[in-house]
Protein backbone atom coordinates (compact mmCIF):
# COMPACT_ATOMS: atom_id res chain seq x y z
CA UNK A 1 0.00 0.00 0.00
CA UNK A 2 1.31 3.44 -0.91
CA UNK A 3 1.61 5.91 1.94
CA UNK A 4 1.85 9.67 1.47
CA UNK A 5 2.21 12.75 3.59
CA UNK A 6 -0.80 14.95 4.01
CA UNK A 7 -0.79 18.43 5.48
CA UNK A 8 -2.68 19.52 8.60
CA UNK A 9 -5.67 21.76 7.75
CA UNK A 10 -6.17 22.97 11.31
CA UNK A 11 -4.76 25.78 13.39
CA UNK A 12 -4.44 25.80 17.14
CA UNK A 13 -3.52 28.21 19.87
CA UNK A 14 -1.61 26.84 22.80
CA UNK A 15 -1.62 29.75 25.23
CA UNK A 16 -3.92 29.34 28.18
CA UNK A 17 -4.51 30.76 31.63
CA UNK A 18 -5.96 28.01 33.75
CA UNK A 19 -5.90 30.05 36.93
CA UNK A 20 -9.35 31.46 37.85
CA UNK A 21 -7.75 34.74 38.89
CA UNK A 22 -7.96 36.51 42.23
CA UNK A 23 -10.68 35.77 44.77
CA UNK A 24 -12.89 38.59 45.98
CA UNK A 25 -12.31 37.43 49.58
CA UNK A 26 -14.91 39.74 51.19
CA UNK A 27 -17.76 42.01 50.16
CA UNK A 28 -17.48 44.95 52.55
CA UNK A 29 -16.66 48.15 50.69
CA UNK A 30 -16.18 46.44 47.34
CA UNK A 31 -17.62 47.71 44.08
CA UNK A 32 -19.25 44.90 42.15
CA UNK A 33 -20.42 45.47 38.60
CA UNK A 34 -23.11 43.57 36.73
CA UNK A 35 -22.95 43.42 32.99
CA UNK A 36 -26.52 42.89 31.79
CA UNK A 37 -27.79 42.74 28.23
CA UNK A 38 -30.73 43.57 25.99
CA UNK A 39 -31.78 39.98 25.56
CA UNK A 40 -32.71 38.36 28.82
CA UNK A 41 -35.26 39.78 31.25
CA UNK A 42 -34.54 36.78 33.44
CA UNK A 43 -30.93 37.95 33.85
CA UNK A 44 -32.18 41.41 34.82
CA UNK A 45 -34.31 39.72 37.47
CA UNK A 46 -31.45 37.60 38.81
CA UNK A 47 -29.00 40.48 38.87
CA UNK A 48 -31.43 42.82 40.62
CA UNK A 49 -31.89 40.27 43.43
CA UNK A 50 -28.18 39.54 43.69
CA UNK A 51 -27.51 43.27 43.61
CA UNK A 52 -29.87 43.87 46.52
CA UNK A 53 -28.32 41.04 48.52
CA UNK A 54 -24.78 42.23 47.80
CA UNK A 55 -25.63 45.74 48.97
CA UNK A 56 -27.24 44.31 52.06
CA UNK A 57 -23.94 42.52 52.72
CA UNK A 58 -21.84 45.66 52.39
CA UNK A 59 -20.91 45.94 48.72
CA UNK A 60 -21.65 48.74 46.28
CA UNK A 61 -23.35 47.56 43.10
CA UNK A 62 -23.22 49.04 39.61
CA UNK A 63 -24.93 47.96 36.41
CA UNK A 64 -23.94 48.35 32.79
CA UNK A 65 -26.03 47.19 29.85
CA UNK A 66 -24.29 45.82 26.76
CA UNK A 67 -25.78 46.68 23.38
CA UNK A 68 -24.89 46.10 19.75
CA UNK A 69 -21.49 44.66 18.93
CA UNK A 70 -20.77 45.88 15.42
CA UNK A 71 -20.20 49.14 13.62
CA UNK A 72 -19.84 52.44 15.44
CA UNK A 73 -22.17 51.30 18.20
CA UNK A 74 -20.02 48.23 18.76
CA UNK A 75 -16.85 50.32 19.10
CA UNK A 76 -18.59 52.60 21.58
CA UNK A 77 -19.87 49.62 23.57
CA UNK A 78 -16.32 48.30 23.94
CA UNK A 79 -15.19 51.70 25.20
CA UNK A 80 -18.01 51.66 27.72
CA UNK A 81 -17.14 48.13 28.81
CA UNK A 82 -13.53 49.13 29.27
CA UNK A 83 -14.44 52.19 31.32
CA UNK A 84 -16.98 50.23 33.37
CA UNK A 85 -14.60 47.43 34.28
CA UNK A 86 -11.95 49.98 35.26
CA UNK A 87 -14.21 51.07 38.13
CA UNK A 88 -14.84 47.64 39.60
CA UNK A 89 -13.43 45.38 42.29
CA UNK A 90 -15.31 42.44 40.74
CA UNK A 91 -17.34 41.77 37.61
CA UNK A 92 -20.40 39.60 37.09
CA UNK A 93 -21.10 39.07 33.41
CA UNK A 94 -24.19 37.54 31.88
CA UNK A 95 -26.10 35.99 30.51
CA UNK A 96 -24.84 33.08 28.47
CA UNK A 97 -28.23 31.76 27.45
CA UNK A 98 -27.93 31.40 23.68
CA UNK A 99 -25.09 30.86 21.26
CA UNK A 100 -24.20 34.42 20.32
CA UNK A 101 -24.93 35.86 23.75
CA UNK A 102 -22.65 33.21 25.25
CA UNK A 103 -19.88 34.38 22.94
CA UNK A 104 -20.44 37.99 24.00
CA UNK A 105 -20.72 37.08 27.67
CA UNK A 106 -17.41 35.25 27.51
CA UNK A 107 -15.84 38.03 25.47
CA UNK A 108 -16.83 40.64 28.05
CA UNK A 109 -15.89 38.42 30.98
CA UNK A 110 -12.43 37.86 29.49
CA UNK A 111 -12.16 41.63 29.08
CA UNK A 112 -12.78 42.09 32.80
CA UNK A 113 -10.64 39.14 33.84
CA UNK A 114 -7.59 40.45 31.99
CA UNK A 115 -7.70 43.42 34.36
CA UNK A 116 -7.04 40.97 37.20
CA UNK A 117 -10.32 41.57 38.97
CA UNK A 118 -12.42 38.65 40.23
CA UNK A 119 -14.75 37.84 37.37
CA UNK A 120 -17.67 35.48 37.04
CA UNK A 121 -19.43 34.67 33.79
CA UNK A 122 -22.98 33.50 34.38
CA UNK A 123 -24.45 30.86 32.08
CA UNK A 124 -27.52 28.69 32.04
CA UNK A 125 -27.02 24.96 32.29
CA UNK A 126 -27.50 24.18 28.60
CA UNK A 127 -24.81 26.69 27.60
CA UNK A 128 -22.23 25.76 30.25
CA UNK A 129 -20.20 23.62 27.88
CA UNK A 130 -20.20 26.29 25.17
CA UNK A 131 -19.17 28.92 27.70
CA UNK A 132 -16.34 26.71 28.91
CA UNK A 133 -15.19 25.95 25.38
CA UNK A 134 -15.23 29.59 24.34
CA UNK A 135 -13.33 30.72 27.42
CA UNK A 136 -10.73 28.01 26.82
CA UNK A 137 -10.44 29.04 23.18
CA UNK A 138 -10.25 32.62 24.34
CA UNK A 139 -7.10 31.68 26.22
CA UNK A 140 -8.48 31.52 29.75
CA UNK A 141 -9.84 28.09 30.61
CA UNK A 142 -9.87 29.01 34.27
CA UNK A 143 -12.57 31.66 33.89
CA UNK A 144 -15.08 31.34 36.72
CA UNK A 145 -18.53 30.21 35.60
CA UNK A 146 -21.69 30.24 37.65
CA UNK A 147 -24.44 28.06 36.28
CA UNK A 148 -28.15 28.84 36.56
CA UNK A 149 -30.95 26.42 35.64
CA UNK A 150 -32.10 26.07 32.05
CA UNK A 151 -34.50 27.11 30.65
CA UNK A 152 -34.59 30.34 32.61
CA UNK A 153 -36.18 32.81 30.21
CA UNK A 154 -39.57 31.08 30.06
CA UNK A 155 -40.06 31.21 33.87
CA UNK A 156 -42.11 33.85 35.65
CA UNK A 157 -40.46 36.71 37.51
CA UNK A 158 -41.22 35.43 41.01
CA UNK A 159 -39.79 32.03 40.19
CA UNK A 160 -36.62 33.57 38.77
CA UNK A 161 -36.28 35.72 41.90
CA UNK A 162 -36.48 32.55 44.01
CA UNK A 163 -33.78 30.93 41.87
CA UNK A 164 -31.59 34.00 42.35
CA UNK A 165 -31.98 33.84 46.13
CA UNK A 166 -31.27 30.11 46.15
CA UNK A 167 -28.11 30.62 44.13
CA UNK A 168 -26.76 33.63 45.99
CA UNK A 169 -24.38 31.87 48.34
CA UNK A 170 -22.99 29.50 45.75
CA UNK A 171 -22.57 32.54 43.48
CA UNK A 172 -20.53 34.22 46.24
CA UNK A 173 -18.35 31.13 46.49
CA UNK A 174 -17.79 31.20 42.73
CA UNK A 175 -16.72 34.82 43.09
CA UNK A 176 -14.19 33.73 45.69
CA UNK A 177 -15.88 35.17 48.76
CA UNK A 178 -14.53 33.14 51.61
CA UNK A 179 -16.09 34.70 54.69
CA UNK A 180 -19.21 33.63 56.55
CA UNK A 181 -21.55 35.16 53.96
CA UNK A 182 -20.65 32.53 51.44
CA UNK A 183 -21.18 29.58 53.72
CA UNK A 184 -23.84 30.45 56.25
CA UNK A 185 -27.42 29.34 55.58
CA UNK A 186 -29.58 31.73 53.66
CA UNK A 187 -31.35 34.32 55.81
Amino acid sequence: MNRGLILDPTSHRSDDISDPGPDLESLAGKVIGFRVDELWRSWDWVSEIWGQMLERDGATVKFWRARGRTGEVGAHVIEELDAFTDTLDAAVVGLANCGSCTSWTIHDALWAAKKSIPTVAVATDHFEELAGNLSRRGGRSGLRLHILPYPLDIRQKAEVHDIARDHYRSFLRTLGVRDRLAVQPAA
Binding site: L7, S11, H12, L134, R137, G138
Partner: protein, 327 residues
Protein backbone atom coordinates in the same frame (compact mmCIF):
# COMPACT_ATOMS: atom_id res chain seq x y z
CA UNK B 1 -11.95 12.09 9.03
CA UNK B 2 -10.87 10.49 12.32
CA UNK B 3 -8.95 13.67 13.11
CA UNK B 4 -12.20 15.63 13.02
CA UNK B 5 -11.02 17.59 10.01
CA UNK B 6 -14.03 16.95 7.83
CA UNK B 7 -17.74 17.50 7.39
CA UNK B 8 -18.64 13.85 6.90
CA UNK B 9 -18.32 13.92 3.14
CA UNK B 10 -15.31 12.35 1.41
CA UNK B 11 -12.20 14.54 1.40
CA UNK B 12 -9.37 14.83 -1.07
CA UNK B 13 -6.08 14.18 0.75
CA UNK B 14 -4.14 17.45 0.92
CA UNK B 15 -0.80 16.17 -0.27
CA UNK B 16 2.15 18.50 -0.61
CA UNK B 17 1.95 18.36 -4.39
CA UNK B 18 -1.73 19.29 -4.54
CA UNK B 19 -1.34 22.05 -1.99
CA UNK B 20 1.68 23.42 -3.85
CA UNK B 21 -0.42 23.91 -6.98
CA UNK B 22 -3.02 25.86 -5.02
CA UNK B 23 -0.32 27.99 -3.42
CA UNK B 24 1.15 28.75 -6.82
CA UNK B 25 -2.21 29.94 -8.09
CA UNK B 26 -2.65 32.21 -5.08
CA UNK B 27 0.40 34.28 -5.93
CA UNK B 28 1.03 34.68 -2.21
CA UNK B 29 3.54 33.32 0.29
CA UNK B 30 2.31 30.22 2.15
CA UNK B 31 2.99 31.64 5.60
CA UNK B 32 1.29 34.96 4.91
CA UNK B 33 -1.38 35.53 7.54
CA UNK B 34 -4.64 36.47 5.82
CA UNK B 35 -6.71 36.96 8.95
CA UNK B 36 -7.34 35.91 12.51
CA UNK B 37 -10.46 33.79 12.68
CA UNK B 38 -12.82 33.55 15.64
CA UNK B 39 -13.75 31.92 17.95
CA UNK B 40 -10.41 30.10 18.07
CA UNK B 41 -8.48 33.33 17.41
CA UNK B 42 -6.11 31.43 15.18
CA UNK B 43 -4.09 32.79 12.32
CA UNK B 44 -5.39 31.73 8.93
CA UNK B 45 -2.46 31.53 6.55
CA UNK B 46 -2.52 31.18 2.79
CA UNK B 47 -1.28 27.62 3.26
CA UNK B 48 -4.22 26.70 5.53
CA UNK B 49 -6.60 28.09 2.91
CA UNK B 50 -4.85 26.01 0.23
CA UNK B 51 -4.98 22.82 2.32
CA UNK B 52 -8.68 23.16 3.03
CA UNK B 53 -9.38 24.10 -0.58
CA UNK B 54 -7.69 20.91 -1.74
CA UNK B 55 -9.66 18.84 0.76
CA UNK B 56 -12.93 20.39 -0.43
CA UNK B 57 -12.19 19.93 -4.10
CA UNK B 58 -12.07 23.65 -4.86
CA UNK B 59 -10.05 24.51 -7.97
CA UNK B 60 -6.63 26.09 -7.55
CA UNK B 61 -7.85 29.05 -9.60
CA UNK B 62 -10.29 29.91 -6.82
CA UNK B 63 -7.52 30.75 -4.33
CA UNK B 64 -7.76 34.55 -4.84
CA UNK B 65 -11.51 34.37 -4.29
CA UNK B 66 -11.07 32.21 -1.18
CA UNK B 67 -8.50 34.60 0.25
CA UNK B 68 -10.77 37.59 -0.34
CA UNK B 69 -13.69 35.73 1.23
CA UNK B 70 -11.65 34.97 4.35
CA UNK B 71 -10.67 38.63 4.56
CA UNK B 72 -14.32 39.63 4.32
CA UNK B 73 -15.51 37.18 6.96
CA UNK B 74 -12.72 38.20 9.33
CA UNK B 75 -13.68 41.88 9.35
CA UNK B 76 -14.64 42.80 12.94
CA UNK B 77 -17.96 44.21 11.76
CA UNK B 78 -18.85 40.78 10.39
CA UNK B 79 -18.78 39.44 13.98
CA UNK B 80 -17.58 35.97 13.10
CA UNK B 81 -17.24 34.95 16.76
CA UNK B 82 -20.91 35.22 17.61
CA UNK B 83 -21.97 34.10 14.14
CA UNK B 84 -20.13 30.86 14.74
CA UNK B 85 -21.57 30.37 18.23
CA UNK B 86 -25.20 31.38 17.76
CA UNK B 87 -28.32 29.26 18.12
CA UNK B 88 -29.35 30.82 14.80
CA UNK B 89 -28.88 29.11 11.47
CA UNK B 90 -26.75 31.79 9.92
CA UNK B 91 -24.07 31.08 7.35
CA UNK B 92 -21.90 33.56 5.43
CA UNK B 93 -23.30 33.75 1.90
CA UNK B 94 -20.80 34.92 -0.70
CA UNK B 95 -21.87 37.03 -3.65
CA UNK B 96 -19.33 37.30 -6.43
CA UNK B 97 -19.08 40.24 -8.82
CA UNK B 98 -16.83 41.02 -11.74
CA UNK B 99 -15.22 39.06 -14.59
CA UNK B 100 -14.07 36.40 -12.15
CA UNK B 101 -17.63 35.05 -12.20
CA UNK B 102 -17.01 33.85 -15.72
CA UNK B 103 -13.44 32.65 -15.11
CA UNK B 104 -14.48 30.55 -12.11
CA UNK B 105 -17.89 29.52 -13.48
CA UNK B 106 -19.70 31.00 -10.51
CA UNK B 107 -23.43 30.54 -11.20
CA UNK B 108 -25.63 33.60 -11.48
CA UNK B 109 -28.43 32.45 -13.79
CA UNK B 110 -30.71 29.39 -13.72
CA UNK B 111 -30.28 27.40 -10.50
CA UNK B 112 -27.67 29.79 -9.16
CA UNK B 113 -28.45 29.03 -5.50
CA UNK B 114 -27.92 25.32 -5.94
CA UNK B 115 -27.89 22.60 -8.52
CA UNK B 116 -25.55 23.96 -11.15
CA UNK B 117 -22.70 21.55 -11.87
CA UNK B 118 -19.58 23.62 -11.26
CA UNK B 119 -17.01 24.63 -8.69
CA UNK B 120 -19.22 26.88 -6.49
CA UNK B 121 -20.20 24.17 -3.97
CA UNK B 122 -16.57 23.11 -3.61
CA UNK B 123 -15.50 26.73 -3.11
CA UNK B 124 -18.20 27.14 -0.51
CA UNK B 125 -17.20 23.89 1.13
CA UNK B 126 -13.57 25.03 1.30
CA UNK B 127 -14.68 28.04 3.34
CA UNK B 128 -16.84 25.87 5.55
CA UNK B 129 -13.86 23.58 6.22
CA UNK B 130 -11.78 26.64 7.06
CA UNK B 131 -14.41 27.79 9.51
CA UNK B 132 -14.36 24.33 11.08
CA UNK B 133 -10.63 23.60 11.00
CA UNK B 134 -9.14 27.04 11.54
CA UNK B 135 -11.85 29.23 13.10
CA UNK B 136 -12.96 26.30 15.24
CA UNK B 137 -16.73 26.19 14.65
CA UNK B 138 -17.82 22.72 15.67
CA UNK B 139 -21.41 21.79 16.48
CA UNK B 140 -21.97 21.16 20.20
CA UNK B 141 -18.47 22.39 20.98
CA UNK B 142 -18.38 26.03 19.90
CA UNK B 143 -21.64 26.22 17.95
CA UNK B 144 -25.11 25.87 19.40
CA UNK B 145 -27.03 26.37 16.16
CA UNK B 146 -30.43 24.89 16.92
CA UNK B 147 -30.96 23.67 13.36
CA UNK B 148 -27.94 24.59 11.29
CA UNK B 149 -28.55 24.89 7.58
CA UNK B 150 -27.53 22.99 4.43
CA UNK B 151 -25.45 26.06 3.59
CA UNK B 152 -23.12 25.14 6.43
CA UNK B 153 -21.87 22.19 4.39
CA UNK B 154 -21.20 23.62 0.97
CA UNK B 155 -21.74 27.29 1.62
CA UNK B 156 -23.88 29.67 -0.42
CA UNK B 157 -21.76 30.94 -3.30
CA UNK B 158 -23.33 32.64 -6.28
CA UNK B 159 -22.81 35.58 -8.56
CA UNK B 160 -24.79 38.55 -9.77
CA UNK B 161 -26.03 38.56 -13.34
CA UNK B 162 -24.53 41.97 -13.91
CA UNK B 163 -25.17 41.87 -17.64
CA UNK B 164 -28.92 41.70 -16.98
CA UNK B 165 -28.99 44.24 -14.19
CA UNK B 166 -30.41 47.73 -14.72
CA UNK B 167 -28.36 48.88 -11.74
CA UNK B 168 -24.67 48.98 -10.86
CA UNK B 169 -23.26 45.68 -9.55
CA UNK B 170 -23.79 45.01 -5.85
CA UNK B 171 -20.06 44.90 -5.12
CA UNK B 172 -19.59 48.30 -6.74
CA UNK B 173 -22.46 49.76 -4.75
CA UNK B 174 -20.76 48.42 -1.64
CA UNK B 175 -17.49 50.07 -2.56
CA UNK B 176 -15.53 47.64 -4.75
CA UNK B 177 -15.57 47.83 -8.54
CA UNK B 178 -14.74 44.81 -10.67
CA UNK B 179 -13.80 41.50 -9.08
CA UNK B 180 -15.33 41.53 -5.63
CA UNK B 181 -16.75 39.19 -3.04
CA UNK B 182 -19.42 40.20 -0.57
CA UNK B 183 -19.92 38.26 2.65
CA UNK B 184 -23.46 38.40 3.99
CA UNK B 185 -24.77 36.64 7.10
CA UNK B 186 -27.68 34.70 5.64
CA UNK B 187 -30.37 32.81 7.49
CA UNK B 188 -30.72 30.51 4.53
CA UNK B 189 -32.69 31.15 1.38
CA UNK B 190 -36.44 31.41 0.84
CA UNK B 191 -38.62 31.81 -2.20
CA UNK B 192 -41.15 34.43 -3.26
CA UNK B 193 -43.45 33.43 -6.10
CA UNK B 194 -45.69 35.81 -8.07
CA UNK B 195 -47.53 34.58 -11.13
CA UNK B 196 -50.11 37.36 -11.16
CA UNK B 197 -48.32 40.71 -10.85
CA UNK B 198 -47.14 42.52 -13.97
CA UNK B 199 -45.84 45.90 -12.78
CA UNK B 200 -42.81 47.05 -10.84
CA UNK B 201 -44.99 47.99 -7.91
CA UNK B 202 -46.67 44.59 -7.87
CA UNK B 203 -43.33 42.83 -7.70
CA UNK B 204 -41.84 45.16 -5.09
CA UNK B 205 -44.99 44.92 -3.01
CA UNK B 206 -44.89 41.12 -3.10
CA UNK B 207 -41.18 41.12 -2.23
CA UNK B 208 -41.55 43.56 0.64
CA UNK B 209 -44.61 41.98 2.17
CA UNK B 210 -43.11 38.50 1.87
CA UNK B 211 -39.98 39.61 3.66
CA UNK B 212 -41.91 40.84 6.70
CA UNK B 213 -42.73 37.65 8.59
CA UNK B 214 -42.87 38.19 12.36
CA UNK B 215 -40.24 35.58 13.24
CA UNK B 216 -37.54 37.16 11.07
CA UNK B 217 -34.49 38.13 13.10
CA UNK B 218 -34.84 41.68 11.84
CA UNK B 219 -37.93 42.11 14.01
CA UNK B 220 -36.10 41.12 17.19
CA UNK B 221 -35.74 44.19 19.40
CA UNK B 222 -32.22 43.01 20.19
CA UNK B 223 -31.16 42.87 16.53
CA UNK B 224 -28.71 45.63 15.89
CA UNK B 225 -29.25 45.54 12.14
CA UNK B 226 -31.83 44.20 9.73
CA UNK B 227 -29.89 43.86 6.52
CA UNK B 228 -31.86 42.01 3.87
CA UNK B 229 -30.69 40.54 0.59
CA UNK B 230 -33.05 40.14 -2.34
CA UNK B 231 -32.02 38.41 -5.56
CA UNK B 232 -34.43 39.54 -8.25
CA UNK B 233 -34.78 37.46 -11.40
CA UNK B 234 -33.78 39.21 -14.64
CA UNK B 235 -37.35 39.29 -15.99
CA UNK B 236 -38.69 41.20 -13.01
CA UNK B 237 -35.49 43.26 -12.82
CA UNK B 238 -36.09 44.64 -16.32
CA UNK B 239 -39.64 45.70 -15.39
CA UNK B 240 -38.56 47.18 -12.07
CA UNK B 241 -35.51 48.87 -13.58
CA UNK B 242 -37.64 50.71 -16.15
CA UNK B 243 -39.88 52.09 -13.44
CA UNK B 244 -37.12 52.70 -10.94
CA UNK B 245 -33.75 53.27 -12.60
CA UNK B 246 -32.30 54.47 -9.31
CA UNK B 247 -31.56 51.59 -6.98
CA UNK B 248 -32.25 53.83 -3.97
CA UNK B 249 -35.89 54.02 -5.05
CA UNK B 250 -36.09 50.22 -5.20
CA UNK B 251 -34.57 49.98 -1.73
CA UNK B 252 -37.05 52.55 -0.40
CA UNK B 253 -40.03 50.69 -1.89
CA UNK B 254 -38.99 47.37 -0.40
CA UNK B 255 -38.29 49.05 2.93
CA UNK B 256 -41.76 50.63 2.91
CA UNK B 257 -43.58 47.41 2.08
CA UNK B 258 -41.63 45.21 4.51
CA UNK B 259 -43.65 46.15 7.58
CA UNK B 260 -46.44 44.77 9.72
CA UNK B 261 -49.07 46.53 11.84
CA UNK B 262 -48.11 46.37 15.51
CA UNK B 263 -51.59 45.01 16.27
CA UNK B 264 -50.66 41.90 14.34
CA UNK B 265 -48.43 40.95 17.27
CA UNK B 266 -49.44 39.76 20.72
CA UNK B 267 -49.08 42.56 23.33
CA UNK B 268 -46.14 40.78 24.96
CA UNK B 269 -44.05 41.54 21.87
CA UNK B 270 -45.20 45.12 21.47
CA UNK B 271 -43.60 46.67 24.54
CA UNK B 272 -39.97 45.73 23.75
CA UNK B 273 -40.42 46.80 20.11
CA UNK B 274 -41.83 50.14 21.23
CA UNK B 275 -39.08 50.55 23.86
CA UNK B 276 -36.35 50.35 21.23
CA UNK B 277 -38.06 52.90 18.98
CA UNK B 278 -39.06 50.51 16.22
CA UNK B 279 -42.76 51.41 16.26
CA UNK B 280 -43.53 54.04 13.59
CA UNK B 281 -46.03 56.86 13.78
CA UNK B 282 -48.34 54.95 11.42
CA UNK B 283 -48.54 52.04 13.86
CA UNK B 284 -46.36 49.75 11.78
CA UNK B 285 -43.09 48.03 12.54
CA UNK B 286 -40.58 47.84 9.73
CA UNK B 287 -38.52 44.70 9.30
CA UNK B 288 -35.64 46.75 7.97
CA UNK B 289 -34.37 49.67 10.00
CA UNK B 290 -33.33 51.87 7.08
CA UNK B 291 -33.60 51.60 3.28
CA UNK B 292 -29.82 51.31 2.81
CA UNK B 293 -29.98 47.95 4.58
CA UNK B 294 -31.88 46.49 1.61
CA UNK B 295 -29.37 44.82 -0.70
CA UNK B 296 -30.82 44.25 -4.14
CA UNK B 297 -29.08 42.21 -6.80
CA UNK B 298 -30.03 40.49 -10.02
CA UNK B 299 -29.65 36.72 -10.29
CA UNK B 300 -31.69 33.72 -11.31
CA UNK B 301 -33.02 32.16 -14.45
CA UNK B 302 -34.92 33.71 -17.34
CA UNK B 303 -37.90 31.62 -16.30
CA UNK B 304 -38.68 34.41 -13.83
CA UNK B 305 -41.76 34.06 -11.62
CA UNK B 306 -39.66 33.66 -8.47
CA UNK B 307 -37.47 35.84 -6.33
CA UNK B 308 -34.97 34.74 -3.67
CA UNK B 309 -34.91 36.40 -0.27
CA UNK B 310 -32.07 35.89 2.16
CA UNK B 311 -32.84 37.30 5.58
CA UNK B 312 -29.91 38.32 7.69
CA UNK B 313 -29.05 37.24 11.18
CA UNK B 314 -29.08 40.80 12.49
CA UNK B 315 -25.64 41.18 14.01
CA UNK B 316 -23.12 40.95 11.18
CA UNK B 317 -22.58 43.85 8.87
CA UNK B 318 -22.07 42.93 5.25
CA UNK B 319 -18.51 43.30 4.01
CA UNK B 320 -17.14 43.48 0.48
CA UNK B 321 -13.52 42.86 -0.50
CA UNK B 322 -11.69 43.05 -3.81
CA UNK B 323 -10.55 39.78 -5.32
CA UNK B 324 -6.91 40.37 -6.22
CA UNK B 325 -5.70 38.17 -9.03
CA UNK B 326 -2.00 37.20 -9.04
CA UNK B 327 0.17 39.27 -11.34
Amino acid sequence: MEQGWGDGLPLIPPTEGRVRMHLKMSGRFPDEVVATLLPLRTECTVEKIAINAVMAGAPAESMPLLIAAVEAMAEPKFELQSLNATTGSVVPALIVNGPIRHQLKIPFATGCLGGVAGPAPAIGRALRLLIRNVAGQVIDVTSQSTYGTPGRVSGIVFGEWEEKSPWAPLGERLGVKGNAVTAYGAMGTANICDMIGNTADHFLQMIGKSLAYPGANGFLPSSQWSETLVAINPVWAEVIGKAFPNIEDVQQKIFDYAAIPIDFLDPVYREPIDRCGRLRADGRVHLIQKPEEVFVMVAGGMGGLHCAMLHSWGTCLTTTKPVRMPA
